[in-house]
Amino acid sequence: MSERRQVVLMLTPYLFGLVALVAAPALVTFGLAFTEYDLIRPPELNGFDNFRELLDDEIFGIALKNSLVFAAIAVPLRLVGALGLALLLHRRITGVGAYRSSAALPTVIPDIAYGLVWLWLFNPLYGPINVLLRWQGDSSTTTAWGVQPPQWLTHPNDARAAIIIMSLFTIGEGFVILLVTRQGLPSELYELAALEDATAWGVFRRITLPLMAPILLLLLARDTIYSLQWTFVPALVVTEGGPPEFSTTYVPLFVYRNAFEFLRYGYAAAATLLMFALTALIVWLQWRIVRRWRKGFAI
């Protein structure tokens, strides 16, 4: 077999997968968004009706707001956390591997198992968190400070906070990527900084941050996209979209329900498309802002 043919053969499964499982479905989603489809009757084109309905749909509005707020809070926290971990644990010290593994461990736990743990941890009555908070309290329902501990899964805002807290532990992937990046930076720059009497903050601001900026930006985009999808399992498993009404219904859950529970595939596709467009917009904005900010890095 000729060389050329072999190379093509190497790429074929992947290309096939890309087209069949990513490109084609993406296009279909785009098309489905303009139809009403319940899998039984053939899809009926209905123009922009789905989108108009979405804009009026109260639940979608709530879901969208929830998703955006979640991303706005969780993404920066996660990124800062991953960066902090990477900078704390990048030196090649004996035994540092154990610390690194510990930090990455929550990320490998299967989503559903992870959700179940927090279901337990956040239980207002039995869960270890509230047990700890109530420990030194006066009665069996108040904390050491005399107020009620957060009711977590039974109150809307507490539930949203719970989902955010859950997302803060799964920063393993970002951590490893930033770790490797930091290790790849030339050590001489840091030695030079030592000679020039730069403070730790100065070193971070002038050397570490600018040099890691490209990867940070990439991770920011990826985490934004990821955060807007990740909420699915926790929302389904831990809070079931509640507590009422819909306080932890995020867009992925909204899409899932409309598609697989209400059998409105077209409507779900429209929501997906809207979300995707919004995500793209956010990522683009992030890129623009960081680009401008980077110019100001120069001394």
Partner: protein
């Protein structure tokens, strides 16, 4: 000869310890919670280790749903998915290296773009497609993404690592008449072992823990994978925390085990950034 820094400085070690403890807490509570006796009232004080310790919850979990079957199912699916994914991803990554110029750029850009598309956007059409093919309620939709290498990310990872190898190596092999497949098998793969291990681990984690796709595609309980089994546990007895956590432990143990073995290759202190390409 330059030695690496081998000592913690000042506040770093306490911080690292605090961090490690914090991140280990979920796992700790998973295990300790699963060992509680079912049906007990809430503890007065926080307890790190339950007393009395009881494995009753594990029996309950395996009794309520056929957890053993689900575990086996998951193992089969993973055993098929992971090797396939690693194979496809490494071949594709290598192929991208050999393909020159424009085609390569297109492939890389395409892969990046595919990475950015959220899975939820593809869920509905994929479902429609598999339904049309009559493959709903089988494992095929779960394994099919392995054709993608499971994720363009793994393909890019391989590509990037192959790219860091010295070009002369492959040129010399070519001169000696080695075929592309030969180069992949004898030169490329042996030299990127840490990456292969990393991808295998990531693929294992993704495939083993996959919840969304089994949820959508599987209806016959005999075909359920473990995550779906846990979901069943939850819908059947939502407040029996020890039992739920027991299920969680069963689902988590293999992944943690695999992780502990594989992490030596890229989280150990002796590994600098070099493992990605050398």
């Amino acid at each position: 000869m330059r030695a690496g820094e081998r000592k913690w400085g000042g506040w770093r070690q306490p911080a690292a310890i605090a961090v490690a403890v914090a991140f280990l807490l979920p796992l700790w509570f998973m295990v300790s919670g699963s060992l509680r006796e079912p049906g007990l009232p809430p503890p007065r004080a926080p307890e790190l280790i339950p007393s009395p310790i009881s494995t009753a919850s594990y029996h309950e979990a395996f009794d309520l749903v056929d957890l053993a079957l689900y575990t086996v199912n998951s193992l089969i699916v993973v055993a098929l998915t992971v090797p396939l994914a690693v194979l496809v991803a490494s071949l594709a990554g290598f192929g991208m290296l050999l393909v020159a110029g424009r085609a390569r750029v297109v492939l890389v850009v395409f892969s990046f773009a595919a990475l950015m598309i959220p899975v939820t956007a593809l869920l509905v059409p994929r479902f429609t497609m598999f339904r049309w093919l009559g493959l709903i309620d089988t494992w095929v939709p779960l394994i099919a993404p392995a054709l993608l290498g499971l994720s363009p990310f793994y393909v890019l990872l391989f590509y990037w690592s192959f790219r860091r190898l010295p070009l002369e190596l492959f040129e010399a092999a070519r001169l000696e008449g080695m075929s592309p497949f030969g180069m992949w098998r004898r030169l490329g793969m042996p030299l990127v072992r840490p990456v292969t291990i990393a991808v295998a681990l990531l693929a294992f984690i993704a495939s083993w823990g996959n919840f969304l796709e089994p949820l959508v595609y599987l209806f016959d309980p005999d075909l359920y994978t473990l995550p779906l089994g846990l979901r069943s546990l939850e819908t059947l007895d939502r407040t029996n925390y020890p039992m739920l956590l027991a299920g969680a432990v069963v689902a988590t143990a293999p992944v943690v085990f695999a992780f502990m073995i594989a992490q030596r290759y890229f989280l150990h202190e002796d590994r600098g950034a070099g493992w990605l390409g050398r």
